[in-house]
Structure formats: structure tokens, C-alpha cells
Subunit: 157 residues, 3 copies
């Protein structure tokens, strides 16, 4: 673990990753395929074990959505560490998708999903900079506020 290791940066930032939750359906949180790690949909779990639920543009405002996106990012980071043993094995966060449960008139998906993107840049530096798609969807499982998913490039074993 060198001075610029993501694990070291996480510790400096005093970020504690949440526990990895049991998947809610017949799937797994992440799958490694060659040099890629496919990380499935991750949920905005609060530290108290509740989920951020509701629609952006209705019950939730942009600030609440931004916070939910941060929580989903921490949840995804926890999965990556659990899969690889250490965040230091990540070469690059390649692609991140954010799906925002929102009303038809909502337009601020970018600000909301920045809440998910920023922690990756904070922890991985330029290796955390990713291509992205942020969209508004009409409904999500459990009325979740949002979900994020990503593809990471990882170091050979």
C-alpha cells in the first residue's frame, strides 16, 4: 500500500465502507471477466440500514438525491473491495451508470449522479475518472431513489 493507494486515501478521508448486503434477487453483486469487473446495481443504503426511497422531483430534492448517490457509491466500493481483496487492485473505473427514480419533469440528474462520481475520483484520483450515463427512470425496485452500476478495469492476478 503506497502513499497514493486508494485504500490509503480512503483512510485519510475517514470514509468507512458499509457492509456488503445480501443481493435481493437471484444475482450476485459483481462478476470478474478477464481484466474487467462488472459491478451490478448498487443501492443507497444509509448507515442505519434503511434505504433512500422516493422520486426525485417529488418527495426528494437534488440534495437528497446527491446524498443517496454518495451512499450508493460507498456500497459499490464495499463490493469492489470484497471482490478484489483491496481497492488497490483497481486500474480504472471505466464506466458508471446512474439511474434516477424521477418525475417526468426532472432535469437535474447530472448534479444528483455527481454525488456518485465524486467519491470515485476522491479515492482513485485520475483512475477514478469514468465515462458515464445518467438517466431518469419512472420506477425502481423498492421505490429506491436511485441505483448505480459500473465497470472497472482491474490488475491481473
Amino acid at each position: 500500500m503506497t502513499a497514493d493507494s486508494p485504500e490509503a486515501r480512503l483512510a485519510e478521508l475517514n470514509i468507512e465502507l458499509p457492509a456488503v448486503r445480501t443481493p435481493a434477487g437471484t444475482f450476485v453483486h459483481a462478476v470478474r471477466a478477464g481484466s474487467l469487473l462488472f459491478v451490478g446495481g448498487h443501492l443507497p443504503w444509509r448507515a442505519d440500514g434503511t434505504l433512500v426511497q422516493g422520486k426525485l422531483g417529488a418527495e426528494l430534492d437534488v440534495e437528497a438525491g446527491h446524498e443517496a448517490a454518495q451512499l450508493a457509491a460507498l456500497s459499490a466500493l464495499a463490493t469492489i473491495r470484497a471482490e478484489l481483496g483491496s481497492l488497490d487492485k483497481v486500474l480504472r473505473i471505466a464506466k458508471l451508470n446512474g439511474v434516477v427514480n424521477s418525475t417526468p419533469g426532472f432535469m437535474q440528474h447530472t448534479q444528483v449522479i455527481n454525488g456518485a462520481s465524486d467519491p470515485f475520483v476522491a479515492v482513485f484520483g485520475y483512475r477514478g475518472q469514468h465515462a458515464r450515463l445518467a438517466v431518469g427512470v419512472s420506477s425502481l425496485p423498492f421505490n429506491l431513489a436511485l441505483e448505480i452500476e459500473l465497470v472497472a478495469e482491474i490488475a491481473a492476478e
Copy 2:
């Protein structure tokens, strides 16, 4: 074809794959890129050549959606076999996405898309376990009930 081959398992399960349909637009069903097979959106074709259409939460209930997801999975399996010559060439189903045509209040995407995930586990065993994202969308082409897409890791030629 060994005892644990996906093709053998498919035969044991008495699952017959449907014919591969002509794409409805200017695209192809799947593309191989190195060790990955990108399988595009697949539709819930019934055996009689009709499509499952309508919105979850309105005309369709969870059971109907679950069945539509199974049909879309069989359609995707047919494409994989057609692309690779045999399902036995699949090393892993890495990622599956399910998009569910649903009303703004719908929340049971997980149960619906389990109908797509389960056949992959039944046929490929642990190699069929995948990362996943299931979302609700406000509309789909032809008013389809849902679509699924996936990425598989495949054996070198």
C-alpha cells in the same frame, strides 16, 4: 459435451430454444469483442410468435412479467447458441440488465427480472450467476413488457 455442459443441462430440462428472429432495426443481436460477447436487447417472444406487450403495474401483473422475462431469456440463449455454435462456449454470464415497461408506482422489478436470471443459473450453474441491474422504464419499443440484455465471457476460439 460433458455431463455438466450447458447444452446437456438444457436438454435435461427439456427446454427448447426459440428461433432467432430478424432484428427489428439497423442492428445485430450480438457482437463478439475479444473474450466478451455483447448481447443486445432481447424480447419476450411467445412460442406462438406473439410478443408480451403492456405495462407492469397496469395490464400485466408480476406473474405475467416473470413469464415474459423467462421468454426473453430463452430468446437471448438462442442468440448465444447461434453466435457461438454451442452454449458450452460460455465461460460466464457476467452482467444482465432488465428493463421493465412499468407504471411510476411499480416496485417489483426484482421478482420480474428473476424470471430472466433463473434460466441462466439453471443452464450454466454458477457460471450463470451474474451481476444485474433491473429498472422500470416509461416506455419500450412496440409496447413490449420488458427487454433483457447481457454480457458474457466466452472461451477463446
Copy 3:
């Protein structure tokens, strides 16, 4: 640059690619991971620097959507060239996703997103044929008409 080079074909077709825009959020336009290029959500920029905004099925008809999809494709092509130095480095457009801002009753996503697919085939020939998913979403950032994203396989350096 050989006779069948994508760059040559682009010139023959008199297509001029737009300038690459600054990303609107904390992300980048594309990331290379091994032999894959992940190209994030691209927007329908008009030549005059305005965006195509509005919902399909409401303010926009299929023709306007088709044109918006073409514009988003040109925007993505500009990013690919900027990333790789030349479109000739693309081995294959593997996967394209189109998300269409649309009303719940909209059903013609296929025709709309053909507007994004066709330029890739025109420029890359069979190497431009891709797997695809086209969906309708209830809202997009800035009330955009649509976005496209893609994964390309690229030549080794």
C-alpha cells in the same frame, strides 16, 4: 488511411464532426480499458450549439428524434476520434444504447435510434454493426431528447 478507412468514408460522405464539448458533470467522455473503449452518454448537439430538447410523443415527433439520434452519433464519433487519434483504430462498434426521453405511450424507439445506428454502419461498414438496446425513459438531464452511449473494440496500440 486505405480506401476503406472510416476516416476516408467520413470524408466521402462529407460528414464533418462537431467539436468535443466539455462534460457537464464530474466525468469524462470516454475511457479505454484494454481493447475496449467505453464511450459515455452523448448528447444531440446541433451545429449551432443548441441541444435537441423535449419528449418524443409530446413536443417531438419521430423525425425530430431520428435527427437528434444522428446528432448524438456524430458527437460520439467526435469523441472516438479525439480519444484514439483516428476512427481507423476502431475494430468494431460492439454495443450501442439509446435512451429516449418519451411519454409513457411512445413505441417508436426503434425508428428513432436507427438514426444513431445508421451513421456507424455508413462510416465503419460491417465493423459498425452493433448489438443495441433502445429504451424510453421518463426524463433526461436538461430535458434532452435522447442520449446514446457505446462500447467499441479498438486496435492494440
